[in-house]
């Protein structure tokens, strides 16, 4: 029996109950009230895992590389959790990628836990959900947590914001748009991996990337809440995930990157992640207060005025902020 009460569920997950863990992750994904209750217990137990983001365009071999990383980490006795953020299905709302297949291949190993989550159109983006899921796995004793994302845009930047170390995979070249996307992805990379290293040109691509990235560590970061300081240029590695070639070197690079970071709240990445979580929750709280209780009529009227272009959205925000201050429950 899986307990229904969030507190008992959290305690069961901490005690190693994988079905309880799975249920908490579902609550986190769906943002139910149970997620908050469980996270309030689990969050203070987290903070020990190495959170590694793995991203790159379709076809770059992310899933195969993740499998190779799991195999290496397991050989070293580490417990590995994976959160795969995938496009969602128009029919079921669930994630579409074949992670059930992957989950099965580790069915006998309780030190591997793979979970796919749908990339939903939530306000505030993917980062808070990914961060919360990673914290749950972290609290439950997974010392390496991989955040894997498919796609080529904003979602990666957000998931990168939830990781200590971000690995960007390189795909074969596919024209201008993909080149542009690649450049955008490189911006979040702590480590760049040219996978499919057995293909001709892989080493040359790695050399080109190294040349392209020279000096990039000194480039000012972009503004916004996903800012992550990057003290030095990303390392560029070549792997062949299918054979495992280069994967031990990648594991070493991950460890080096982690060791090079300041500890605790002195790590600006950790602090930015904590801040992003707090702002997202605060936004939810403010919105819930304005959309519920005695204030809902005012809120609806103000939004209607904006929809009809009789009021600008800045004026509307100021009016709602004033509402929030007065009264209260």
């Amino acid at each position: 029996m899986i307990p229904a009460d969030p507190d008992a569920l959290a305690q069961a997950a901490l005690g190693g109950d994988r079905r309880a863990l799975a249920r908490i992750l579902t609550a986190v994904e769906n943002r139910t009230p149970a997620a908050e209750a469980a996270l309030r217990i689990l969050y203070p137990k987290a903070g020990r895992a190495h959170l590694v983001g793995i991203t790159g365009p379709p076809g770059s071999g992310k899933s195969t590389l993740v499998s190779a990383i799991i195999a290496n980490a397991r050989e070293a006795g580490r417990a590995v959790g994976v959160v795969a953020v995938a496009p969602s299905s128009p029919i079921t709302g669930g994630a579409l990628l074949g992670d059930r297949v992957r989950m099965q291949s580790y069915a006998g190993d309780s030190s591997v836990f793979i979970r796919s989550m749908a990339a939903r159109g939530h306000a505030g983006g993917l980062a808070p959900t990914s961060t919360a899921a990673a914290a749950v796995l972290d609290a439950c004793g997974f010392d390496l947590v991989l955040l894997e994302t498919v796609g080529t845009g904003q979602s990666e930047v957000e998931v990168a914001a939830a990781a200590d170390t971000t690995v960007v995979l390189e795909a074969p070249e596919m024209g201008d748009e993909v080149q542009a996307i690649k450049a955008g992805l490189l911006e979040v990379a702590d480590i760049v991996v040219v996978n499919k290293g057995d293909r001709p040109g892989a080493q040359r691509t790695a050399s080109q990337l190294r040349a392209m990235l020279v000096g990039s560590g000194r480039v000012g970061r972009r503004e916004g809440s996903n800012d992550r300081p990057r003290p030095k240029e990303p390392e560029v590695l070549v792997t062949t995930a299918t054979t495992g070639d280069g994967v031990p070197e990648l594991m070493a690079a991950l460890a080096r990157h982690r060791q090079g970071r300041p500890s605790g709240a002195d790590d600006p990445t950790r602090r930015a992640r904590a801040a992003a979580q707090v702002w997202a929750i605060l936004g939810d709280r403010v919105r819930a207060e304005l959309e519920g209780g005695s204030r809902v009529a005012t809120t609806e009227a103000v939004i209607r005025e904006v929809a009809e272009h009789r009021l600008d959205p800045f004026g509307a925000a100021d009016r709602l902020l004033a509402t929030l201050r007065t009264g209260g429950q």
Copy 2:
């Protein structure tokens, strides 16, 4: 001379000054205080344009289709504004795609305005910036505003939330991940376009998509602020953007979709868009209050506790919300 004062800049843009318009869009993209001042003047003048989102994976021919739509709209005497949201450069921070080239091809036509914007990692996502840029073009008399996005993920969903009508382009099939992404994109489609209609199999792809989408109009929408009710199944069209084949039919479908929508604030898409803008601005305001003035020390201490896992982010949000209510300036 372009006026430096935001009010004068807004008036100049309303009077047809394209350099003033360009400067306001730069302010919107960079979220400077001048953007707020200008938007407060321009927003009440907007609300007449048809906002059309155009999205799809790399290689589906978005830019060519946008050019074909511009040509058709110009023949009908309509003024067309384009906001192309593109991955940003790691070096300059600016958008990478070749929109300067496209802008030049309409250099002699003041009724076409094309602007590329970088997809930045802002909290609150791309939707508020895209919506604001569209409102600026709308206010300045562009009666068709196209929001074009590259990529395959969250960003499209967000940009779709800023449009009245969302067109999803179909690309050649490229494997499981791309199939999954495509399915995710279809979820936001009001109209699906199979472009490159001169290629073998285009009509068959359209038939398959029609079969796949049967009944999708009745599927419940996903939760979250980007929810857009979709009363019926999307229409599936075939175009060949390079020759213009099928583009008049697409223009007719766009007009039909627009005519089928409720007017003003009775349109749930418009209301959701207004709400998303207000919540984004309100979030910025709340954050600015907590990160400035007398509250900054408390805010920093609370975030530090979260970063060190001594406090969960829900408790932190509640503490900051209480701070916001007391005092004030």
